[in-house]
Subunit: 389 residues, 2 copies
């Protein structure tokens, strides 16, 4: 594999947008191109994550239209990837593999999604199409219910009181909301307290409103290139050091909701390819669609022993100045969650962190970062290890 | 690039099916595995084309569920590709690139789609989401209208009478229906005449009913492997000798509807990679969503001079015993068109042709075959060159 370097990144503000998917992606893409000192005509291929374009704007086959919108030359290939929330990370991984293996020298990857146009009820319903349509959906369960089961199983498995777990979950929300206040592009920029979480409306027991991430609109993009040819174009080169992707059956096929085969496989591949272990990671953006998701992810990614995720949270390990800062961007919880764009925004944050460009939310001296994105109910997971010299 | 060999192929009957998308794909996949002498646990990754799963069965994120359904091990990556009708060809191309570049040694690619469950009106409407949602759909145009414009522009550009062009289009339908009668898996197995076409109901002037392919249900799968390690497993090895993919803006961005930048770029890449030209191709499955689409494709793929497509049809060049047999399977016109599975079915036919397993529709001595799949209105095109020793 050749070394793959990040030439530029771009991202829109997350939240509720008046812009179309194509407009949002263009804004992110042109920012990434400007950072790269390139024009869109230089790009050899485009790799795009998008999930619900058909329901949101009646737009399937979005990749060539995004390529055209940003001015790529006609004839260059543009490909859409869809793996629920992990779509953009899957797109970035495949872009990195294509550059790494010598198929292309210079490509763009990213994601775009416009969820708020549907309203939360329709968004929740279409979003649940990431679960198994024949064997699960007839039960009426949607993602809040699935992650509520994770919390209950966690308590049962480790003999932890639900009230204690809920405190760690609430602290996770408080931490991510705090980080969001430091991120100009975040959907929510409001400090909350543990009481805000514990007094919120119940969504799916034990998940309350502030345990849940929002639906957001947004887009993000990243330019990847063969390092041998292009690394001199950037002041602080960041490299894609490893990638991994794993799949598994839907919830009903999982023996233990606190351990996800797809995630453990994906992150192991990424660590192995990068030649690192979890203790080498300085900063991580992980998939906190619900607060419990962040707690269990800490364990599966190797940042806490199994059963010790809540203790790691309670010790402050995951804060900006902690042992392993998690979701400095605010995470899905506060930065927001435009489904098919989320992975690209996680990569954006890690690139900015490794370059030292994150201002008040900067993790000091970060050299190695991890992106972890979960799609569907534990069925598609994708990981990226990024590093700087 | 390493040499990539086809170990096995599988395909369901096309038409109206009582089976779910997952069941159809499983049937095709298990047939491909059986031909390969492999078990699903041997597969390192799955690459899947599917377009309208969200509308058909409320199923997004289908790749991991298909992987699970066929018994792949949890942890192996499964990825969905969506580029309208070209989805499965794009999936196969990426699978071949991943094997060719050494990322994987043994993978499955394919596609599955269930269109008849929606009925033709909803299928036509959702299918039109492959066109540009902001700049085209408000005009009310759907694919029959777009390809009708191709026919009119063709006549205007080359000074051909519409009645003459319609004769060549009708002969194309008659030829593909004839081929379909020889294909046990085809949706339509009924001979028609030029009169059947010319007396059919008008759909979008000048396209009449028998100028249009049907919506079908179906699935197809292909197992690809590193030839150095696996070619001894097959009696008649077929290789992926070249691939290409191109994108372009939607119809409103095309200067000449009879020339498609994305297709010309895609097929040039595939020919170049294979080190061949159009005169080396012995058999071709191309995207005859409408009869006019086959006529203009002949020219863009290099099988006829520009302006000479109708003459090539009229001479019988494209028949099973002609100079360049086109769509021996019956094509989209008679074999059927399960959107996201179509490219995989085209590859299935070419593999069977190169192996000499096509019975009455066999193209004698075929050694090099081309797959050409068109997605959206000229915006995503993917090409594969297959060959045997």
């Amino acid at each position: 594999m050749r070394e793959v370097v990040v030439l530029g990144v771009g991202m829109t503000k997350f939240g509720r947008s008046e812009h179309s998917m194509k407009e949002m992606f263009s804004m992110a893409a042109l920012e990434a191109l400007e950072e790269s000192g390139l024009e869109s005509k230089d790009l050899q291929a485009l790799f795009i994550g998008n999930v619900l374009g058909g329901f949101e704007e009646g737009q399937m086959n979005i990749a060539p239209f995004l390529a055209d919108e940003i001015g790529m030359r006609h004839g260059a290939p543009a490909t859409r990837y869809e793996g629920a929330c992990a779509s953009a990370t899957v797109a970035i991984r495949h872009a990195a593999l294509m550059v790494g293996s010598g198929v292309y020298d210079l490509v763009m990857a990213g994601g775009a999604e416009r969820t708020t146009i549907m309203g939360t009820p329709l968004a929740t319903k279409t979003f649940a199409m990431g679960s198994h349509s024949e064997y699960e959906r007839f039960t009426g369960i949607t993602f809040p219910g699935i992650f509520a089961m994770v919390a209950h199983q966690y308590c049962a498995k480790y003999g932890i009181a639900l009230a204690d777990l809920k405190m760690s979950m609430a602290r996770t929300a408080v931490k991510n909301h705090h980080n969001g206040t430091l991120n100009p592009l975040a959907h929510f920029k409001k400090e909350i307290t543990v009481e805000t979480v514990l007094n919120g409306p119940m969504i799916a027991d034990p998940l309350q409103l502030f345990d849940c991430c929002p639906f957001s609109d947004g887009a993000a993009a990243i330019v990847l290139a063969d390092a041998a040819k292009f690394k001199n174009k950037v002041r602080t080169p960041v490299y894609v050091a490893g990638t991994g992707q794993g799949s598994a059956g839907s919830t009903y096929r999982q023996k233990d909701l606190t351990r996800m085969a797809a995630r453990e496989a994906a992150v192991r591949q990424a660590y192995d390819q990068a030649g690192i272990g979890p203790s080498d990671v300085d900063v991580c953006e992980l998939h906190d669609c619900f607060t419990i998701a962040e707690v269990v992810a800490l364990e599966m990614l190797g940042f806490a022993e199994f059963g010790q995720g809540p203790a790691a949270v309670d010790r402050g390990d995951t804060s900006l100045t902690g042992r392993i800062p998690i979701n400095p961007s605010g995470g899905l919880k506060a930065k927001g969650h435009p489904i098919g764009a989320t992975g690209a925004a996680q990569a954006y944050e890690i690139v900015k962190q490794l370059r030292g460009e994150c201002g008040e939310r900067q993790v000091n001296g970060a050299k190695i970062g991890l992106v972890d994105t979960l799609g569907g109910d534990f069925s598609t997971v994708c990981s990226l290890v990024l590093r700087r010299d």
